[in-house]
Amino acid sequence: MIPEIGHFSLILALLVALILGSVPIIGAARGNAVWMELARPAARAQFFLIATAFICLAYTFASKDYSVGYVASNSNSKLPLQFRIAAVWGGHEGSLLLWAMILSIWTVAVSVFSKHLPDDMRARILGVMGLISVGFLLFMLVVSNPFERLIPAALDGRDLNPLLQDPGMIFHPPMLYMGYVGFSVAFAFAIAALLGGQLDSAWARWSRPWTTMAWVFLTLGIMGGSNWAYYELGWGGWWFWDAVENASFMPWLVGTALIHSLAVTEKRGSFKAWTVLLAIGAFSLSLLGTFLVRSGVLTSVHAFATDPRRGLFILVFLVVVIGGSLALFAWRAPTVGRGGKFSVISRESFLLANNVLLAVAAMSVLLGTLYPLFLDALGLGKISVGPPYFDTVFVPLMTPALFLMGIGPIARWKNATLPELAMRLRWAFAVSVATALVLPLLLGHWTPMIGLGLFLAFWIFASSVHLVRQRLAGDRATLLARMKSVPRAWWGMVIAHIGIAVFTLGVTVVKGFESEIAVRMLPGDVAHLAGYDFKFEGVQDSIGANYTASRGQLRVSKNGVERTVLSPEKRLYTVQNMPMTEAGISPALIHDLYASLGEPLEDGAWSVRIYHKPMVEWIWAGAVLMALGGLLAISDRRYRVRRKNLTEEKAVTKKSVVKKAVVKKPAAKKTVTKKVSAKV
């Protein structure tokens, strides 16, 4: 019964989405207020219906109903409850439902937090999101129905893949989808602007918080996936340039470029066409990622069970959505206007250079990911493109971008001069060069890559310190007062940039200084690595909810003092008879000690791999800082529209977009004037 209710809800949701995707958009074109107003209730109805379907599927999993085929393929009676719920998105059909539900969440959020938007723009935005929803709902109902019954019903399920039976499964996909799908808001804003012909600073200001929020989710989602792979896969790797990892990284790169581009469009009215293209691009890459994972076109650890019919459906969907939006772009972009003038050396030009670098990086990742397919399609043989390629190509592209990160925030808008910038940054430059040369020598090992990584990380640290000191210099009473006078968005930028530096430092140190040993250990044997002693205490058998395990014990000491105990496990998940390793990790900011159990050997010994990974946690700490910076930026005062302004705006007519932007200035006026005085 419940699955049927879920199925029916999806059908109703499709009907609502069809209405949402057509009526308000036509209404906006015709100026029909009633039709436009339909958008908000339709968005809410759609959310309610899709959420119902999702809850029905979750209930079906929780109640162990194996008469539904999808549940039988992805669950099992012995599977603990939290993983039964996470299994909802463990397979293709359910993950689509998650996609659709998250899209409906963003849609209803936009419908709630959009009172300050002109009615026609809101109608178009919600309409575009509704059209995307139509695509996903149709896809599910036609070729990927999660509620399809299995006749005769299975006695028990085939279990969720043991690799996915982990807290990471509860966090990583929803967070990632919130990011991917969140870029649909920026996309919808861009399409609405192209359709309506109004693309100005106000448009940029309205879409910024939505874009940044999606970016924050995507950052956390990718970080979560990387960390999960690190502790789960047992060999200490955290990024593999796998096709699906790339599919999430490309929208992130373009999304980062988009955030920076929106900043310029809002402040200076420049880069409009470029910003719109980036907004279309970020979401297009999200959709492309969806295609790559489900079509069978590329091999990947993440690939769902593939079916060419499904691949064809998504491909057609891609052509309609992306092709349509790019065609609209080609048609309307020439009319959006150019924006303010700025000189060759200015903050605008640095930001533009940054965008070019990020876009080229994203395109390079796309090239590498799809190249094997290109060659195969042309009959030119089969190759593999893996980490050696991406590492070689990505570092030279990102190096100038990281270098610019130190200069951009210090350069003035509109016009800056190189000598002045060089003067201001000479101390930061000196510090970073010195650190890059000296630190590795102190740690015992120098290579050009280590030097480069350290230089870039400390360059960003040092220039950020300089930037903060310059900004906080002033004549106000206390440091705290001066800090409060600087808008949160600015702090957000600084913290996010420092996050990148922290990340870069972590990557550089771990890659440059990590070490490992592979040893055979009998109980009582001691291994040595990086100054630590690892004493093997043997292996004990234990039983978990749906697995049996051999749990090893390694006592770690340094100079005779015991520091920690590592407990790597080798598990056998009984339903699928699948072996898995759980690494034993002792994390700390300074380094991780990581052990994984190999195979039992003939004489009762075990093969054990022990890793020393210095500063590896900085990789994810950096990502968290980036996300924090983004959140700070969103919580900036100017996005919190005060009640007074709202009533003022309602009195103003629909078409006076420009006037609205001006009326809004009083809220921002204080910060604007403060900025000017602080900069002097």
């Binding site: 030009s349 190249y371 060659l375 593999s384 493109v385 040893v519 190999g598 003022e648 009326v663």
Partner: protein, 155 residues
């Protein structure tokens, strides 16, 4: 008395030996460290043909273990990295290399990002030059300035 002491001493001595003997140094899994370093380095660049999403260094598949053993033997014989890779490519094709070879069909792959960057840089410079030639922002007239002030002061 003396015999008792001697016996006790000997028992203690042997016990001590066994305790000391059990705290042994863990031996490396593979004896030859230099060869193993080469094996590891190569394994990280080669694709497991069974799992296809892992290097043969990380894969638990039997074929991966067999290939690693072959590589080990070749490395022990003193074969260079390139020779070992050529050996495997002769049997499995370029698919087995995660670092794509540089040949006519992969020029676009290896040079593509660089070319894109150059295009991007040229496009950037051209766009910036064009901006500089744009007319400067027109200053607003007195009446317009008054209007702006009025609107700003409304709140």
């Amino acid at each position: 008395m003396k015999l008792n002491l001697l016996v006790r001493f000997m028992i203690g001595f042997f016990l001590l030996q066994s305790v000391l003997a059990s705290a042994e140094e863990a031996r490396p899994l593979q004896a030859n460290v230099v060869v193993e370093a080469q094996v590891q380095r190569l394994s990280e660049e080669l694709r497991c043909l069974v799992c296809q999403n892992q290097t043969i260094a990380d894969s638990h598949a039997e074929l991966a273990q067999d290939l690693k053993q072959e590589i080990r033997e070749m490395a022990a014989k003193g074969m260079t990295d390139q020779a070992i890779i050529d050996y495997l490519v002769a049997r499995y094709g370029d698919f087995v290399r995660y670092r794509p070879p540089m040949k006519s069909s992969t020029y676009l792959l290896w040079l593509g990002p660089f070319v894109l960057l150059i295009f991007g840089a040229i496009g950037l410079v051209m766009m910036l030059r064009r901006r500089e030639k744009m007319p400067a922002d027109k200053p607003i007239s007195q009446t317009e300035a008054r209007k702006v002030r009025e609107l700003l002061d409304k709140e």
